[in-house]
């Protein structure tokens, strides 16, 4: 039995201790905004915040998340859209949308570490995969969320 806090709410979960946080969030707690893309920490679809830091939840065993505070895409926008989500709306970023929860969580985590990034900082800092090819709008949206105008600093 592990206890984790997700979006401010505490959960006792009874799963094998090596179960990745991703599957606890999705299958046990039932929050499905966090996606499965590769299971190997390569694509970033499953990105959540663990104690405020962006992490790929498919690589975090539940035992390592016990006692910590997890924020998912559902928690990021609990009081209306977060600035990053609003930038995603302004730039109409998503196409299929499947990777976008992870992209948004990665971007929010990135901006909390680096609030005033250059365009090059964004391209080297965001390694999540998008197969629809929304990269150009993602970059613009992150720069907008950082306070720039339409992606131009």
């Amino acid at each position: 039995m592990s206890t984790i806090t997700v979006n401010g709410k505490s959960y006792d979960v009874d799963v094998a201790s090596d179960t990745p946080l991703l599957w606890v969030i999705r299958d046990v707690i039932g929050l499905t905004g966090t996606k499965f893309g590769c299971g190997a920490g390569l694509c970033g679809c499953c990105t959540v915040h663990l104690d405020g830091v962006a992490m790929r939840s498919c690589q975090v065993p539940i035992a390592a998340a016990a006692g910590k505070s997890v924020t998912t895409i559902e928690g990021l926008g609990e009081r209306g859209l977060s600035p990053v989500q609003q930038a995603w709306v302004d730039h109409q970023v998503p196409q299929c949308g499947y990777c976008q929860s992870g992209q948004i969580m990665a971007a929010a985590g990135f901006l909390s570490q680096n609030p005033h990034p250059s365009a090059d900082d964004v391209t080297s800092g965001i390694t999540n995969i998008c197969r629809c090819g929304t990269y150009n709008r993602i970059k613009s949206a992150i720069l907008t969320a950082a306070g720039g105008k339409d992606g131009v600093q």
Binding site: A16, T32, F36, G37, C96, C132, Y135, N136, K139
Partner: protein, 704 residues
């Protein structure tokens, strides 16, 4: 586009009686609030106007990122005269009522056809609804309906009477619905042609959009299937004793495609599968892609078994300075971000399926056959699709979920891993293109002779009309409108037992690499500028020439903006949309780096310019990913790539600056979702030649 006899499809077409059931089981994906008292106005299967003023639009095409749902709703809203804010879109339960008469009467989404096929349907549906609302108002006011006007959900009469659509719903329900209503003139469009927000945007930035993977139904269990490690192998025997000891594992069952581990959650199913031991029969144990390239080049050069589909003039007698070249493109996995999955529940009454599918008609047929029920006993819910690119036209993942549910008598979600998704894809074919061509004394192309050898990927979706001939695999060979007096194009069917299906810009994403690289080679022989050389070939086709000229102008042809870069150009016509691309490339550590891409297309009438821009730019990134990185190889009958560390795809770091534009037009809309893919590989190859003098004729460019 693809010629097939309709009768053959009707046999395939699993059909169910067509009540509109909206929603997704207990979770519900509908954002519809509880329906108020009073029935809605439902003049046809596409739209319902509720007494509270909400307009429900049924989207029968799958939304996989291409924006079709928003586009189709816009067409309907335009003719109904309602603001987009009143629209609620729903993905209805699959039904013959949603079959596409322009797509072999299938309910299917592919070939960038959604808007072209559904524009008139959705426009008529909205116009018909508007017509009965106007008639209801006119009757109340005792005026001629033609004296009434509509705007933003209201009817107004000749003496300034006004009534909301909501207030007219009850009266309008009894008015006969007209057919073939006169549609608006493009000059009167309020919504079409202007950017409007995607209707699927908010659910996709808040994590609320329901994909196949997100389906949860009462009592549902989770399964992971061990499929054959080699093509053609089947289960000989298996030992489930260790798997059954894994915490959370409920059951282990054999199904036709492998062995399924059923568990209380996805991870437990994955863990149980790792503990499984399966013995397999021999399969295609000697299958090797290196050998396939050799075999297919021999087939191409010998013309053995080839089918000529265009032949004008006499390519053999043309004369001129001739050259020849062989181009090779690999198998590719589609790799949508959402791995394959489906949820199924087989009961004594039939089977209910929830699936992210592009091909509802086939899904119903497969589910019925697997469950052993009639097609009218299948209820199919379509979810959002987490990418597709052609992969979800083939419903093997639906068959699998139904088989596991049948074997366990439970509702079950079958989830593929990324490794499963890569290694058990229906791949983009492996092709070899052999081209000969000649330039005459006037510096023009006098002959082109092209053979393409590849699988017939469409056969996984539709029966081929002519055995051994897949029209999709000829796309890009004879579509460019080039004036070449002696021209022959032929396709040779090759099959190695590798499952294939179409992938974004099928045929053209391989053939255009060959054709547009070769045209560049001929331009070099002629000593001509590559853009001028192509414009000369397009003299008789001003529409196509305008696209190329505009692209050259927008890109600053001849004057790359990136220091040390050279430009490459390519032109292709896919699905009726002429598209040109110009790239700026440098070489870093021996590998090409693409810095800037300029694309111009002429897709006819644009419903939503912002979505068109998204498709054009997304297609550029997708095409570059294919050209630079995409590669599936097979050794010993096994796909050598598995996850994103071995199957490489484009990251933001390698995504270029993209400038996309369209030629303004009111012509009927043609495809937009795939058109920027074909020019990418040849444009990069041509830029590499401009930089280095070296022709790269094998894809991918990096790490091949």
């Amino acid at each position: 586009m693809i010629g097939v006899e309709r009768g053959e499809f009707l046999k395939l077409s699993g059909m169910l009686a067509g009540a509109l059931i909206i929603g997704f089981g207990e979770q519900g994906c509908s954002n519809q609030s509880a329906a108020p008292a009073g029935s809605p106005l439902e003049p046809n299967q596409w739209v319902a106007v509720r007494p509270d003023g909400a307009v429900i639009v049924n989207i029968a095409k799958s939304e996989m990122g291409q924006g079709a749902a928003t586009g189709l709703a816009t067409c309907l809203a335009e003719e109904l005269d309602v603001p987009m804010s009143s629209i609620q879109m729903e993905f209805p339960v699959a039904s013959p009522a949603y079959a596409d008469p322009d797509f072999f009467n299938l309910q299917m989404t592919g070939g960038s056809t959604s808007l072209q096929h559904s524009y008139p349907v959705m426009s008529q549906a909205g116009a018909a609804a508007r017509s009965v609302l106007v008639a209801a108002a006119a009757k109340q006011w005792n005026v001629d309906p033609t004296s009434c006007k509509t705007s933003a959900g209201f009817v107004s009469g000749p003496s300034n009477q006004t009534a909301s659509y909501a207030s007219l719903v009850a009266a309008a329900r009894s008015i006969p619905v007209p057919k073939n209503v006169v549609l608006k003139s493009p000059n009167d469009f309020i919504l079409i042609g202007k950017p409007s927000a995607r209707l699927d945007l908010l659910p996709k930035v808040t994590g609320q959009a329901q994909y196949g993977i997100d389906v949860r139904v009462p009592g549902m269990v989770y399964a992971s299937v061990q499929q054959a490690p080699r093509f053609g192998a089947t289960v000989k025997s298996f030992d489930a004793s260790k798997a059954k000891q894994v915490s959370g594992v409920i059951d282990v069952v054999e199904i036709p495609k492998g062995v399924a581990v059923v568990a209380t959650n996805t991870w437990a199913a994955f863990a149980g599968r790792k503990a499984l031991t399966v013995e397999w029969t021999p399969g295609l144990d000697h299958l090797d892609t290196d050998e396939l390239y050799v075999q297919r080049e021999d087939l191409a050069r010998s013309r053995r078994g080839t089918l000529v589909f265009v032949n004008r003039g006499d390519v053999e007698a043309a004369g001129g300075s001739s050259i020849e070249a062989v181009y090779k493109t690999p198998y590719l996995a589609h790799a949508p971000m959402e791995p394959m999955n489906a949820t199924a529940h087989v009961t004594s009454d039939g089977v209910e399926v929830w699936a992210p599918t592009q091909n509802q008609t086939q899904a119903i047929g497969f589910a019925a056959k697997t469950a052993g029920v009639a097609t009218d006993k299948v209820i199919l819910h379509t979810t959002y699709l987490g990418g597709a690119f052609g992969r979800r036209l083939v419903n093997d993942f639906v068959t699998m979920a139904v088989a596991v549910s049948k074997a366990t008598s439970r509702p079950v979600k079958v989830m593929w891993t990324r490794e499963d998704d890569t290694q058990h894809d229906f791949l983009r074919p492996l092709s070899v293109n052999f081209i000969r061509g000649a330039v005459g004394p006037n510096g023009r192309v006098v002959a082109l002779d092209h053979v393409a050898v590849a699988e017939a990927p469409v056969a996984s979706i539709l029966p081929l009309q002519k055995p051994g001939f897949d029209p999709s695999q000829t796309f890009g060979m004879a579509d460019s409108g080039y004036d070449i007096p002696n021209f022959r194009a032929a396709y040779t069917f090759a099959d190695a037992g590798v499952p294939t299906t179409t992938m974004r810009a099928p045929g053209a994403n391989q053939n255009s690499f060959a054709v547009e690289s070769f045209i560049d080679e001929l331009a070099h022989v002629a000593g001509k500028d590559p853009v001028a050389f192509r414009l000369d070939l397009l003299k008789g086709n001003p529409r196509y020439a305008t696209v190329l000229q505009t692209c050259a102008k927008n890109a600053g042809w001849g004057h790359p903006k990136t220091a040390g870069a050279r430009q490459g150009v390519a032109f292709a016509v896919w699905d009726g949309t002429p598209t040109a691309g110009i790239v700026e490339v440098t070489i870093d550590s021996g590998n090409p780096v693409v810095h800037r891409v300029t694309v111009v297309a002429d897709p006819g009438l644009v419903v939503n310019p912002d979505i068109v821009d998204a498709q054009l730019t997304g297609g550029v990134n997708f095409g570059l990913s294919m050209a630079l990185l995409g590669n599936i190889t097979i050794k010993g009958g096994t796909v050598q790539q598995a996850n994103f560390d071995t199957y490489n795809v484009l990251h933001m770091m390698s995504s270029p600056e993209i400038n996309a534009a369209v030629i303004p037009s009111n012509a009927p809309s043609s495809g937009i979702g795939e058109v920027t893919v074909p020019p990418m590989a040849p444009a990069v190859a041509n830029a590499i030649f401009a930089l280095t003098g070296k022709r790269i004729r094998t894809l991918p460019f990096i790490g091949a």
